[in-house]
Subunit: 506 residues, 2 copies
Amino acid sequence: MANMFSLSSDGQDPAELPDLNDPLMDHSEGQLFLNEAFKIIIEEVLCKGTDVKQKVCEWKEPEHLALLLDLELRAAGEPQQRLLQRVQDVAKYSIKTSHPRFFNQLFAGVDYHALAGRFLSEALNTNLYTYEVAPVFVLIETEVLRSLRQLVGWTEGDGIFCPGGSTCNMFAMNLARYRLFPEVKSQGLWAVPRLTIFTSAESHYSVKKGAAYLGIGTDNIVVVKVDEGGRLIPEDLEEKIELTKAQGAVPLLVSCTSGTTVRGAFDPLDRIADVCEKHTVWMHVDAAWGGSVLFSQQHRHLMKGVARANSVAWNPHKLLMAGLQCSALLLQDTTNLLKKCHSANATYLFQQDKFYDVNLDVGDKTVQCGRKDDCLKLWLMWKAVGSIGLAERVDKAFNLVRYLVEQMRKREGFHLLWEPEFLNVCFWFIPPSMRGKEGNADYQDRLANVAPVIKERMIKQGTMMVGYQPLGDKVNFFRMIVLSTLVSKEDMDFFLDEIERLGNDL
Amino acid sequence: MANMFSLSSDGQDPAELPDLNDPLMDHSEGQLFLNEAFKIIIEEVLCKGTDVKQKVCEWKEPEHLALLLDLELRAAGEPQQRLLQRVQDVAKYSIKTSHPRFFNQLFAGVDYHALAGRFLSEALNTNLYTYEVAPVFVLIETEVLRSLRQLVGWTEGDGIFCPGGSTCNMFAMNLARYRLFPEVKSQGLWAVPRLTIFTSAESHYSVKKGAAYLGIGTDNIVVVKVDEGGRLIPEDLEEKIELTKAQGAVPLLVSCTSGTTVRGAFDPLDRIADVCEKHTVWMHVDAAWGGSVLFSQQHRHLMKGVARANSVAWNPHKLLMAGLQCSALLLQDTTNLLKKCHSANATYLFQQDKFYDVNLDVGDKTVQCGRKDDCLKLWLMWKAVGSIGLAERVDKAFNLVRYLVEQMRKREGFHLLWEPEFLNVCFWFIPPSMRGKEGNADYQDRLANVAPVIKERMIKQGTMMVGYQPLGDKVNFFRMIVLSTLVSKEDMDFFLDEIERLGNDL
């Protein structure tokens, strides 16, 4: 980097202007490059990257990978062939999240129609803030939000796509705060009483991050107890709301979860709604992970009562495979709360004397300025397979989990921690040497070490990827996530075989 | 939408599981679709979309466009040919922001290497939170941030890519707050004295949005006066900091601007740094628009003093054409403030017993959970053209502006409001009928109407796009932005001719 400018011609006389018509790039050469890169993407990421005979990941130690990638940014550019090799290298050493044996996160798989929409979005390169620069996307976003709201059970309402579920959850907090105390927008939190947020011990960490970021503070999150399945207990919620009130604080919002991150639990929304209505507390549902069950006639009962919520966060980039990122915040509100709460009315962008209906300039509904058109990929994918096709994805994932759990029960070393309510299968693998020795003093310590070691071996061999974590008094256990439509019964069998293969000697 | 599920087979017996090996999609058909979509993108967006003989936009009334797009999402999917037609329609009716005559926003143009990086990112579909799922991107982000910091003048420091400059500005506020009062993270703003933020009247609206969102409140923004060029006046800043202190509030942060949104002004950073150092106030530089001048030996003096700042927000998606979004927050801090301030230490994601250095799991430095790898496109583009190539882009834009202004002076109807300091050219077009009539009572009202009418005509004819707005006592004026390397002298001449053609009869 010391030579970042070493080839630069300092002291150029500005009177001697270079050719102002030089585009500084060759368009046909550029398109040729894009074409070649596209071929590499198809071959490396979409063909090999989804082939069970290929590796999920190609592990390299960070120092080694840094050398391989030749990261340094220099003064001079590079030839096209070298750059294509870079595309190839990035593809090669990146994780194949579309691989049928990638079970590591709450996203996986690939949808080609969504991907086409994503390429189109990137090429069109615009911001979703005004109808002027994003006419198609403004209309598509409106329609997609309307359709998602309809699945929630609302015929009216509002909403917006955000860069991730965490942002959706934070917006809900900000809206709840503004609804109760609109003066907070101008005067800040010093002008209002202490506010509290209620959520279960197993909700997503963005509730914490949001409370800190919005100035409310993590101490003002009241943690509500969960039942044996990881679901928020409404009676405990009510007690804690009453206690908070007695202490002089104002209960602001209950953040329920539909599909918790680790266990996949669904909070009992109907019963929580009773409590929220009684105490006039904003009911938010973090359905980032679970929301897509609303497509399934068979499984939508898990979110019974969701229509009584004030807001819902839902990430179609997870279970529906729309591609990162695709996160919608849905609102029952019809009073334009979103815009009132977030707007700054910048005159350079949101001119009021435009020749079209300026309500189409949706950008002031968010705290972002520029915003990606995350709606297009979902719209195109939905058009391609219909609501029925999306429902099939949800149902298939449930069925695969059922199959996996059945197979797991047949094997000695697998200990399911909880009956899965959703697509999270939490289990310990007990190596032969530890079976029947639950009473030993070092059992928990040894067990805690099993998942990390298997995980290390798995990644270094690149055969598959699955996550692990501790929870409460349970030491490290695997959290298997099944969602991609590419996954087959054979992948489930392979998964169990592979865990055994990697862990049997521990 | 009433029929979203009308074809669904309710009451399916879950015991009769469908074929679990059905991928629910045909891969080769999917790749074929992607191939065809890619051809449409090349032809419509990248060839026609950058051709001066083609329109910049294809205006349709919203109601008409909604019908053309057939927005409704239904139960059944659609055939591939219909879907390809949709790709074509989305391309056709979207704004061609890469067109050499798109002067409407602070982004424009296209870079094919960056675009290849974007397609690759979309296909790889991962989240930049752990080395485990994003090894390549973690390393690339680190290197790109290091290189950007080096241009700022820092050999050490920290940073992160955010979904937009607004988020970068908000992070700076949150960091400044946490540095002064770490207890704010747990206890909220009630535990700390009233905080104030200082910024010029012409800074970006995200300062307002951030103050509201973070619970500080817009009333606690102290607006600092600007000079005749729109630059913050350090003497007024100091007076106001002292006044704030005298009133018992704590001056938290000064948000300076390098390249204001409307006028393109650069605040005098060195003199502001003197004030910030004296009063120990966090100095943030919103260089979302202007930051890229740091590449240019000729123009980097505009940001003299930037190395004295605590934080810098910089959007390479603007002047460098990296593609939306590409926004970096850069920090001088070496105490891990970013992570301390934003972390929640979720054990399911950021396990501490991993087999690699967990400092590579950068995800807890942000308030997001999932995060896009916005670094790749910049890295690939930088590798392709080098620092010198990026500097040439900056210099070319300045030179084009110089040419435009020279030409503007030769024409009677163009009234430049301020001498451009950057790439924003702010001017009134005075139609022949209004020339020499500045004293008329209705002059300002008539003038205010000129830009909106020309803009309407321009968009409806699709020949070019440029923005307008009022500012202070100046009624609606055009803000011409020149940045794309595709722009030629002929485009500048065309621009002036076209404004005359569209407005001469007013």
